[in-house]
Each structure stands twice: as structure tokens, then as C-alpha cells.
Symmetry: C3
């Protein structure tokens, strides 16, 4: 695997899951694979879970890790040719990125949507610059439009907890005081669409996601109806995607907060969220503290998904 940015990059999901469960049984099984190999983790945005779980994953494989925190504002690379660089951009991407590639074997990048330009965000400009110019395998540690390590961990978790071969999985929007990127819901939809689960998305009008991610998923504007008979509830807030509303908060309606009222119409569904989660905005205390809440095992699986991805990349290094 030369890059990991979306569900297509992981290939056959059954094989990927088999590898995940093999690693979960013995997470140091491949500790010799990364010997004398270096992972460089580059953060344009701050990180807690992703940083810790990915660093742990590299450790599982015996890799060395270099962490680079780049203040997003400070990372002003010139990208054009012909510009007289006498301003605030000290370096051109054509020099900066290949040099970083010199000192490592695999690169992880975190770079969020900035909500300044939908085109800039959805073209994944920064992630793609590293793929194109670093000369090394690159994986996303959450980019502008997707968070594939999270989605892969979500898939592993559902496989562990599901009680029927084709569970009903519902992605529900929930309110939040700030506008959040669509990376997690986009990515979750993309991965769920790649399974044979019964997958449905519910959100208020105006919160439609990019059609390329919604794909064949059912969309239901009535949250209560969406929840009926669900086996898994996956809650997440996101800012509007469509039209001029890109990056805006259109609603903070707490009727959409996941509570006992909605959970009662499910098939005793498990509750999932990628964390951090704002209680009583996204979900009530009693739901997230209930035995059906699997947010902690879900977070723990981040280590497993990252280990699989790094393992596959290491296997392809000559």
C-alpha cells in the first residue's frame, strides 16, 4: 500500500478485517517488521487520540517515530513558479516536501478543512502535495474530507459487536456550538457504503453531505424514523456542505441530541462516536454511560487500524 487516504486504498475489507483481528490478538506479532524504519507524523492541526494511537501503532511494529508539529498558520509554502519570494513564505513546496521525505520511510499527515474555500478543502491540496512530492508512502491522519483511520476503526468495532450479519447502521447529525469539518461523516459513509450493511443517514435539511460520499446510502430527514430498528447509532456533528452555507452552523436544535427517547425505538442499538464528544449536545449522559455505549472500545481500535495500515506500508518497502 503506497497511500491510505480513502476506503479504496485498503482494498478488500474482509482481508483488512482479518488482519486487524490477527493484530488485536497479538499486537506485537510484527514487531520486527518496522526495525530500522522511521515514521514521520506531521500535524498541521492538533491531535490527541490520533497522535497517541498512531504512535502506539508504530511502536507495535518496532518503528522509530518522529513527530513534527507545524502550526497551520506558520506553514506558508509557496506553490507557484515565478514568484519573487520576498514576502512571508520562506520556502517552496518543491524543496520543503522532498526533504522531509529524505529522512523517513513513511509519512502521516493531519490537515483539516479550513472552511475558507470549499474547492481548496475538497481538493485535499496539502495531503496531495505530500503524496506527489515526498517520494514516500503517505497516509491520512484526518484530512480535509476524510478520516480513514477512524472509519476503519469504526468498521472493526461494528464487526466485533454486531449480532446479525447485516446490521442496520445509522449515521445521525447532532448539534454542536461550533462548525466542524465533514471529514468524519464523509469517511464513515464511504466505508459503510463499501460494506453490505443496511446503512442510513439522518440529518436536518440543509446538512446534506457531498453526494460522492452519500452515494447509495438512504437519507432520512426524520430522525425518529431513521432510528427504528437500528443496531448501531453513529452520532457526529458537522457544518453545512451545500452551496453558500459551506462551513456554517445552520442549527443547534437539541431535539437532535441522541437520548433515551430515540434509542428506545432502536433494536437495543450500540452507541458510537469518534470522540471528543460534548455531552447533552451530541448525546445525553445516560446514553453514553449505558452498557450499549462502545465509544471507549471504538477509540481503542484506533491503535489496531493504524497498525494494519502501517504494517501494509512496511510490507511494500523494498
Amino acid at each position: 500500500m503506497k497511500q491510505f487516504t480513502c476506503v479504496q486504498d485498503i482494498g478488500d475489507l474482509k482481508s483488512a478485517l482479518a488482519e486487524a483481528f490477527e493484530i488485536k490478538k497479538n499486537r506485537f506479532k510484527f514487531v520486527e517488521l518496522g526495525r530500522n524504519k522511521t515514521l514521520m507524523m506531521i500535524f498541521f492541526n492538533s491531535s490527541l487520540r490520533t497522535r497517541l494511537s498512531t504512535q502506539k501503532a508504530a511502536t507495535n511494529l518496532g518503528m522509530n517515530v518522529i513527530v513534527l508539529d507545524i502550526n497551520q498558520g506558520a506553514w506558508k509554502l509557496e506553490t507557484e513558479r515565478g514568484v519573487i519570494m520576498d514576502g512571508d513564505k520562506p520556502e517552496h513546496l518543491l524543496e520543503a516536501i522532498p526533504v522531509m521525505g529524505c529522512y523517513c520511510d513513511i509519512i502521516g499527515i493531519r490537515s483539516f478543512a479550513r472552511f475558507e474555500s470549499k474547492e481548496f478543502d475538497y481538493q485535499e491540496t496539502i495531503l496531495n502535495q505530500f503524496i506527489q512530492y515526498s517520494g514516500k508512502p503517505v497516509f491520512s491522519m484526518e484530512a480535509a474530507t476524510r478520516h480513514p483511520l477512524q472509519s476503519f476503526a469504526d468498521l472493526i468495532t461494528i464487526e466485533e459487536y454486531k449480532k446479525t450479519p447485516r446490521p442496520k447502521v445509522v449515521l445521525t447529525w447532532a448539534p454542536h456550538p461550533r462548525p466542524l469539518p465533514q471529514a468524519v461523516p464523509n469517511s464513515f459513509a464511504e466505508w459503510m457504503n463499501a460494506t453490505d450493511y443496511d446503512f442510513l443517514i439522518t440529518h436536518p435539511e440543509g446538512y446534506e453531505l457531498d453526494p460522492q460520499f452519500v452515494d447509495n446510502a438512504k437519507v432520512e430527514y426524520d430522525q425518529m424514523k431513521a432510528f427504528e430498528g437500528a443496531d448501531f447509532i453513529y452520532a457526529k456533528s458537522w457544518a453545512a456542505y451545500t452551496g453558500d452555507n459551506y462551513g456554517r452552523v445552520l442549527s443547534t436544535d437539541r431535539n437532535w441530541t441522541v437520548s433515551k427517547r430515540q434509542m428506545d425505538v432502536t433494536n437495543n442499538a450500540f452507541f458510537m462516536h469518534c470522540l471528543p464528544v460534548r455531552r447533552n449536545m451530541i448525546v445525553t449522559d445516560d446514553v453514553i454511560e449505558s452498557p450499549q455505549s462502545i465509544v471507549i472500545p471504538e477509540a481503542a481500535n484506533r491503535e489496531i487500524s493504524a497498525t494494519v495500515v502501517l504494517k501494509r506500508m512496511l510490507e511494500q518497502i523494498p
Copy 2:
């Protein structure tokens, strides 16, 4: 050992010291013990000596280390139930802390007294949250009320330099321009009280420490009298503890600065301080530069005390 926050946690001091000296002879003797084990060091306050010595200790044991610097102001975890989290607290401790525990085997926490509330500080709120919710062994890298890795290093140092079985050890307050937490003197008193040394505390009136730490120690307000015949002088500044003066500087009287005048009445005592030290406030140049000053070997023993603590925690991990 499941937690290390105070002298009681280390158990029998003689065994602990024997282990310390065994490690000091060959600090890589147990380098296989930490293989594939990860230490997470979480800093709510900045650190130089503690960070370096603890990281080195983990290395001695072959562990992997993840360092997490959390700006104290930025760490706003919701702790209550029922709160609608639409403000500045993005996460609830019941999610945040268990997740950190997922990605490591042992957790070290540094969290100082804030001097905003004596109750909050002396309940060790943050340290105890990690002990209660992380699911992993937790040790203090200086908490609000104690600094046990320092005190254990102090004890090792005294054992190395003492010339009599029961030396006279004097903890003396000294002036400092800023209000400093009581963690170091509290902790030193607690550890000295656990030995059979002749232990005495001296400070100006108003600087009384919490009685639970003073315990049976003698308190002498006349510094010159306290120093008579002492074998070890342990200097430290601290802010007032008692009553409404909690966290205040009551005196910067440089008559309390440790100088030749006071050292001359001791039994050619060794001079100790946990560092950093302000010269000519805490101690004069000539005293700290004299052959009797053992502040550098004392600091070097921080690596040894941390190695013992980590070793004991590793031995208990299944």
C-alpha cells in the same frame, strides 16, 4: 505497584533503597522488562529535570515513551453530569481519561497546585481523576501536594552521603520572589518521617506546613538553632499554607538565605536542593559551590528513583 503518589506507595524503604543501588550499579540491568511497553508522560505544567530523568529512566527499562504537553489553561474537562456542554469544555473526563489509558501501559502525571483553591489543590483532583478513570498504573511527576520521585531521590542521596546511621536532617525554608507550591517540602517531610533519621523543620512563623506532612517532625523557628550539629541541610522556598494566607509570600527575608554563617554551626553538613535554585536568595554562591554541596548528584538520582518506580510498575503488569 499500581500507583506511586506518596511514601506509603513505595512500601518498605530498605527494599526500595536496595533496588535503587542495584539499578545504580547497572542501570540497564532490566532493559528487557519494558520491552513493548509504553509510558505516557502527561504534563499539565512545564518540566525540565523531571521530564528528562523520567524519559531516561523509561529508556533504561527498554520502554517506549509518549510525551503529551497539555497547556494547563487548555485542559478544561467537564466533570459534572447533566451539563449541556455548549461552552469552552470540549470533553468530559469520563471519555478523555479512559481513552488515554487505552494507548499505553503506565501513566505519569505532572499537575501543580494552582493556588486558586486549597481544597482543589489538596484533594489532588487531577491526579486522582487519572488514578480513578485511566485503568492503568499512575505515578506522580509532581502533583499539587507531593513530589515523591524527588523525595525518593533525596533519600537515595542521603543514604549515599550519610556518615552516621541516624543523621540529623534539617529542612529549611528560604526566601524566593514568587509563591511556590508546598509539594517538595510536604513530600520531603513525609519521606524523612518514614525513616529513623533525626528530622527537623525550620521556617519563619506563618510558614507552617499542613500538619499531616509535619507529623512528628520537630519544628524550630530559630534557624541558627535548627542548624546546630546538622548533617544535611535541605533548603526550599514555599508559599504559606495556613488559613487565608494560602499561596501567599509572607517574607523575603534574606536572613534565611543559607550562607556560611549558618553552615558553620552544622556538623560540616551537606547542602541539598531540588533545583532550580535562585542563588543568593535560597543559598549563597560559596555554599552551593562548596565541596559539601551535593545538588548535582541529587539531581542525577532522579533517574534512579524513576527507574525503580517504573520497574516495580512493570513487574506488576500481567
Copy 3:
């Protein structure tokens, strides 16, 4: 090797180059040498290439690495005796530096010229404090007056690309909007003067470097004339050194920008720069993108020069 701050410290260049090429063939050949040894990298100034390449070098040798970022402004060590330390300096260098030396085996220091005092900068005050007081081998990761890891990498690169035994190497000043330290040109001159290359320096009047670094090198104020028949062009901007102009930008004349016009009079010279480079100030797009540009392999050799230096220091540790 107990210290590495200048070309003299590396000794015979032929042996050093032989070691470099041996390591380049198999950069993990000495991975057992650094087992249980710790490198402490202390940064008083920010770093990208140096940090990454030196950390990778330590990894090549199996060392553990501790990185310490010290805000230059925050590092206020008292250096005098007799001062009552009741101000903004919390620690004396006589305590601070020996303690850092306690927890590691080798120390790397980055500390730039501040342009506040030529005397302070050119005495290498901070670097020398670590050499004098840390008790451990110390190497420069760019100091006020030299950048020897860069110059060594430059030498390795020239040896790899040269087509004649004694190539003509030209160091040329180039414009930049900000005043930059002389460390890179000083150091490059020093290393080139230690070879038998035909070495020449060109810059506008007023940009003369410290004579101790220029030494026997030819200085030519006419850039076009300097470039005639050159085999390597090494471009770099620097602020004035001489007299009251110390630290000032005297010119931003883009006639000095390296372009096709100048390269055309060379012997199809290779183009070098230490990076980061401002395009169309230092060098035009077409020159830096040409096949003759070797800035990326030059940067990659930073890993090699650092590995040689660390290897030699490790070999001398008892």
C-alpha cells in the same frame, strides 16, 4: 571526538569522507553502537531539517533521543556570581547545564546569532557553556558562527558529484529580505579552505565575512567573473559582518540572484543551497529545477554527516 563545532574537530577529511560513504552504503551498519545510549537535542532556535536529520542519524545508530525545545527568550540563565537572583532569571548555568548532562550521553545544541552583540555571538557563549559545564560530548546543530553538520554534508555532496579532483567551488552571496546569520557561509568557507579545491567567495562590497573564516580564499566582487568556469555554485544570503553594519541588510539587489545568465558562464556547474531557499531572490526557478540542481541530495546528506559525528562520539564513550 569530544566536541564537534568546526572543521578542525573532524580531523583528517579523507577519513571522515570514507566513513561517510561507508555509512551511506549501509546506514544501519553501526546500529548496535548506540544501544542504551541517549542523545539530547537542545534547540534554542526552531529547526526542521537539522532536527529531522539528526534524529534520524541517532536512530541509525540505535540511540535513544530526547528533544528539548527551549524558547530562546525564556532561557535566561544567570551567569555571574554574587548576583541576588530575585529577578527574571530562575537558574544559574552552573546548576542547569550539569544536570542536563546527567541524563544523557551526548548533547547537540542549536543556538543562533542574535545580532544584539557581535562579541556575544562570535564568542559562541551558549555553545561554549555546554562544552564547559555539561560533562558530556557536545556537537553544534548550528551555532552563532558555524554550521558544521551542514558544511560536512556539503563536502560529502561535492565529493559525490565532482568530475575533476580539484573542482572550482564558488560561494556567492544572494539577496534576502531579512538579515541572516553568517554561520553557513563562515562554516562553508572554513571547510572548503580545509580541502584542496579551488575556492572563491563573491559578494557585494560591505558583505565581507570575518577574516578568520575567509582565510586564504579568493574574494571577487564581480559575480560574473567569479562564476567563470565554476564546477559548483553555493548560494547563500547573509547579513553584514563588518563594523557597525553587523547584522544589517545592506542590499537586496536582485542582480545577485543566481540565474541562467550567471550559470551560463560556469563549467555546467552544480547548484547548491542549504535550504530553505527563497526562489527568485536567491535563485531562479529554472536554475533550482534544472538537472544541475543538487539541493535535495545535499539535504539528504545531512543524515550522513550527523551519523558520522554521532558514531565518532559514541566510539569514544567508555
